[in-house]
């Protein structure tokens, strides 16, 4: 019986080539989107699940309020781990500190500035499941002068030679023996490293108090809990722990923080601007998920619509089968089987499409997904999709067809009731509602991104080169580096600073003349005296920092307008008042100038109060260039850098590009949304095209009669198009409030954002209607232009 159904389905498929192609194409696109989404989501949710003890591993995080927002800060000082083990021996099995660092690693004359070096405790490979190919997990990091390489790093330094026991130089001054090789870190790990060195190696370079001080942001600390320990109970005891070690410090600074234990598998999806490890974006996962499901539904709707519209064509077959003894259940099964066959063909095409699209998809995602051919879940999901699509798309037409009365369907008197037509129209309303919704999304996102990129940021981001001070040589010779740069004619000015706009800015507690009893939490920028000039900031009261005042370096500060307001002053009133950084300054500093607010953080966050303080904590040089030959300037700067830090490769970036990176997630959403809305409207139009050509065929006789009676081509086009365009328009109208609500919500993630305008909705509807009109119009014109004699004769 099934063979009979299958052969019939294939024959039907061949007979109705156009409709079959529309169905298969639509379903293939929908399923491809779904498969892509599945691979993405499966990978996202698999993060950090490969650790054997994963359920007992937690990361210690400080929690507290910064700039009025609650933050979770993953960095703690080196002293936490031993203190935790000491204070909670009943609950904590072990604690591993992990510090991400960049170091110069050399094998004889070959050196690389390695940016993914982990300095970690000896237990690292015991607690985490990064499998070792060579070496023993318990002992690889015992000796402070050892190093464990990943497979790729081992190849990089030693080629095919066995690296075990070989020596590498650490920052040119310490020898490390290779004691182990581990497998390359999988993509789905929030911890990403190329080599691991014992943290103990820092004993030789760091002052002893670095290992005992509590107020410090140095590294991550992971704890493995003993079996059966409830982390919530442990967290309750952390309050006493923080009091014991940091109570005094917090009392002085007036700023208090708590401590929590974050489960390992929750780290990837938690996001905080202060957390530098690899993070996922749950919001993006959900956006992906909804869009792919919507496209699949749109494709299923095409199937339902075309199948029901064509139902009367198959009524004779249904009637006959019933006469010959088929019962409803058998016919239902037959039609379901047909839709499952369609879904299967579409699914196979999708796998081919997926293989083709994978490289581009990886590009959009920004990383490489593991191959799906060896993924058993992928096959399971595919079977699931075939079943769901087969049932979803097949059941309504199957129900409708199998319920036909045999007598009427054999006589050809069958009328598919108005409810069927109504149902089809409702589905078209849904399809175009979704399409217009996506277009509204694209229009709003594009406009917001344009706004973000073209806003006046309050500083000059053009032609500004960033050179990071990421090694000790350049850090120690920063001043010399700057002075030599200024001798290059194309360099306009140079400023050494702690954080560029869009980069990291510390928060410190301040005392202020405004209210000496209160502690003010303010952002800080530690820079030299050329900061304002180099960034092109605007002084709105007082003066800029200057060499000509000999005391500026030690006793003066600038603040921004928001800081003045926070202290309770107008910009003018703030001049001459004092403030003091409780942890950093030994003397009070005088506010000598107020700068206009500038966006030192992205436009997603409101501008906070900022203190620009002369200081030597310089982590980068910002080099303002005059517009001349960029290539020569870069060459010249490279030479100057080589003088200061000869062992390190010269690396640089540009401020405008860095700032754009702050909107990476949004830019990705923009491209994903654009691509998917094009796909959605394409699939929806595919269905509309099918319905339009079907209507044209069914009404051939009517069109012929009307033409014979004198109707014009325009009249007929209008007649045929009107019915199909009404649901499109209705769908578009329904999409407006939904789109307004959804995009308003999206815009809330920006502190600075565009307003809604009526034209955004009009544009979205315009695009959808135009495309729909073209789709329907072509078919209608074709039908209207046909020779009436011919159409009447065939009747």
């Amino acid at each position: 019986m099934i063979k009979n159904y299958l052969s019939l389905a294939i024959k039907n498929f061949r007979k109705q080539k156009l409709f079959s192609l529309i169905n298969i194409l639509g379903l293939s696109i929908g399923i491809t989107c779904c498969l892509m989404l599945f691979l993405f989501i499966q990978n996202e949710f698999s993060y950090d699940h490969f650790h054997k003890n994963g359920k007992n591993i937690y990361r210690i995080m400080r929690v507290g309020e910064l700039n009025g927002e609650q933050h979770e800060i993953p960095y703690v000082s080196v002293a936490y781990a031993p203190a935790l083990i000491n204070d909670f021996p009943d609950a904590i099995e072990s604690a591993v500190r992990v510090m991400k660092d960049n170091n110069l690693i050399s094998n004889n004359n070959i050196s690389f500035n390695e940016r993914n070096v982990f300095l970690a405790d000896a237990d690292f490979f015991n607690v985490f499941s990064f499998p070792l190919i060579k070496g023993d997990a318990a002992s690889v990091l015992k000796d402070p002068n050892s190093i464990v390489l990943t497979e790729s790093s081992a190849k990089k330094y030693f080629g095919t030679v066995d690296p075990m026991g070989k020596i590498l130089q650490f920052n040119k001054n310490q020898a490390l023996k290779v004691t182990g090789v581990c497998k390359d870190v999988p993509v789905n790990s929030h911890l990403q490293f190329d080599m691991v060195i014992p943290l103990e190696i820092l004993r030789t370079t760091q002052p002893p108090e670095w290992f005992t001080n509590f107020p410090n942001n140095s590294l991550f600390t992971y704890i493995e809990l003993k079996k059966g320990i409830d982390p919530k109970q442990l967290e309750k005891r952390f309050a006493g722990f923080m009091d014991k070690y940091l109570g005094k410090y917090y009392a002085e600074s007036g700023h208090k923080m708590g401590l929590i234990a974050k489960p390992l598998n929750k780290i990837y999806f938690s996001s905080d601007q202060f957390d530098s490890v690899k993070h996922g974006n749950l919001k993006m996962v959900y956006i992906f998920m909804s869009i792919a499901v919507l496209i699949l539904i749109i494709a299923c709707i095409n199937f339902v619509n075309l199948a029901t519209a064509r139902a009367s064509d198959r009524s004779k077959e249904v009637g006959l089968r019933k006469v010959l003894g088929a019962v409803k259940k058998q016919l239902f099964g037959q039609f379901i089987l047909e839709s499952v066959l369609f879904a299967t063909i579409a699914c196979l095409i999708s796998v081919g499409l997926l293989q083709l699209l994978m490289p581009a998809y990886n590009e959009v995602l920004g990383y490489k997904l593991p191959s799906f051919w060896t993924n058993p879940w992928f096959y399971g999901f595919m079977i699931g999709i075939i079943a769901v699509v087969g049932l979803l798309a097949g059941s309504y037409p199957a129900l409708l067809l199998s319920s036909f009365s045999p007598i009427e369907s054999l006589k050809g008197k069958l009328k598919i009731g108005n409810s069927g037509a109504f149902f089809r129209k409702a589905l078209v309303v849904f399809q175009f509602g979704v399409s217009v919704l996506l277009i509204i999304g694209v229009v709003v996102v594009i406009n917001q991104m344009k706004y973000v990129k073209n806003s006046d940021l309050g500083f000059n981001k053009e032609q500004s080169m960033i050179v990071r001070f990421d090694n000790r040589d350049i850090f120690n010779k920063g001043k010399q580096f700057k002075n030599e740069l200024l001798t290059i004619p194309s360099v306009q000015s140079v400023s050494l600073m702690s954080g560029e706009p869009g980069g990291f800015h510390d928060s410190y507690s301040f005392e202020a003349e405004a209210n000496p009893a209160e502690k003010f939490l303010l952002n800080t920028e530690f820079a030299d005296l050329s900061f304002v000039k180099t960034l092109g900031l605007k002084i709105i009261a007082g003066r800029d920092l200057s060499e000509s005042y000999g005391t500026d370096s030690l006793q003066a500060v600038l603040i921004n307008r928001t800081a003045a307001t926070k202290l309770g002053y107008t910009p003018e009133q703030a001049i001459g008042k004092w403030i003091k950084n409780i942890s950093r300054d030994s003397v009070k500093r005088t506010i000598v100038g107020v700068v206009e607010d500038y966006h030192y953080v992205s436009l997603k966050t409101p501008i906070g109060p900022l203190v620009i303080s002369p200081g030597s904590d310089n982590r980068l040089a910002l080099i303002k260039l005059k517009s001349t030959n960029l290539k020569t300037v870069v060459e010249n700067i490279k030479k100057v850098y080589a003088d200061a830090a000869p062992a390190y490769p010269f690396e640089y970036s540009f401020l405008d590009e860095r700032f754009d990176l702050l909107y990476r997630a949004e830019a990705r959403q923009e491209s994903v949304l654009s691509i998917f809305s094009i796909i959605a409207i394409f699939v929806a139009c595919l269905g509309l095209f099918g319905l339009a050509s079907y209507t044209a065929i069914k009404r051939t006789k009517e069109v012929g009669v009307r033409k014979v009676l004198g109707s014009s081509v325009q009249n007929i086009v209008l007649l045929l198009s009107k019915d199909l365009l009404k649901p499109v328009l209705l769908g578009a109208l329904i999409a407006i409030p939904v789109g307004y609500y959804a995009m308003n919500k999206w815009l809330q993630s920006f502190a600075y954002r565009i307003e809604f305008h009526w034209w955004m909705f009009a544009l979205a509807i315009g695009i959808a209607i135009t495309i729909a009109l073209l789709t329907v119009g072509i078919q209608a014109i074709k039908a209207a232009m046909a020779n009436p004699v011919k159409s009447l004769r065939t009747e």
């Binding site: 019986m1 009979n4 019939l8 007979k15 077959e317 009637g319 089968r321 006469v323 003894g325």
Partner: protein, 225 residues
């Protein structure tokens, strides 16, 4: 074999009520060949639909093979139909997408005959109606007479006790028509009961008995000698 008593069928739309069968009573014995004649709209087709268990009467009794079937539900009717009744239509009603062989095979599939048995049986029947050489053709590739022969083959493939024929020669020329009528006669001689609706006096002469209908009732019975 068939005994109907006071059978009524009324079609209702919002405004009009049409009486298709008006207290009609009729008996058909096993092995009989009955022709039903009458003008358009007299209720012939309605009668045939009810006899074929495709439709149910509004009132009256319908005893088929000694069982009262007037109140049977769709499932029971389908079951009784597929084992006992074969149909031949004026417009052949073959499924265009299936080959000659597959069309004839269809009733056997629904009665659950095994695949190997089906092949044997279909070939037997196709041989009998002399269309075996066309077994892999599609209906469109056959002449009208050939199509009707396939339809007859399909009607008899299950060895039904009753064949209902609705103007079986209506779409055929006289020579093909005669051929089909001869086939029905042969089947009848082998014991199959046949009820045939026809407009053709010529065809009706093949039957044992002619029932003439008007306005939903039988008005005359001619016994052929």
């Amino acid at each position: 074999m068939i005994k109907i008593t006071n059978l009524e069928k009324i079609y209702r739309t919002e405004e009009v009520e049409t009486v298709a069968l008006n207290k009609l009573s009729l008996e058909v014995k096993e092995g009989e060949f009955v022709a039903v004649m009458g003008p358009s709209g007299c209720g012939k087709s309605t009668l045939l639909n009810i006899l074929g268990l495709l439709d149910d009467p509004d009132a009256g009794s319908f005893v088929f093979n000694g069982i009262e079937v007037a109140k049977f539900n769709e499932r029971k009717r389908a079951d009784l139909r597929k084992h006992n009744i074969g149909f031949v239509f004026q417009s052949f009603n073959l499924i265009d997408e299936l080959t000659v062989f597959e069309n004839v095979e269809l009733p056997l599939i629904y009665t659950g005959v095994k695949s190997s048995d089906r092949k044997k049986r279909v070939e037997e029947v196709l041989d009998k109606v002399q269309i075996m050489h066309r077994r892999n053709h599609y209906p469109q590739q056959l002449s009208g007479g050939q199509q009707q022969r396939v339809a007859v083959a399909r009607a008899v493939v299950n060895n039904p006790k009753l064949i209902l024929a609705d103007e079986p020669t209506g779409n055929l020329d006289s020579s093909n028509g005669n051929e089909v009528m001869q086939m029905l006669t042969d089947l009848n001689e082998q014991g199959t009961t046949i009820v045939m609706v026809t407009h053709s006096e010529h065809d009706s002469r093949y039957s044992h008995r002619i029932i003439r209908m008007l306005d939903g009732q039988t008005v005359l019975e001619n016994i052929m000698v």
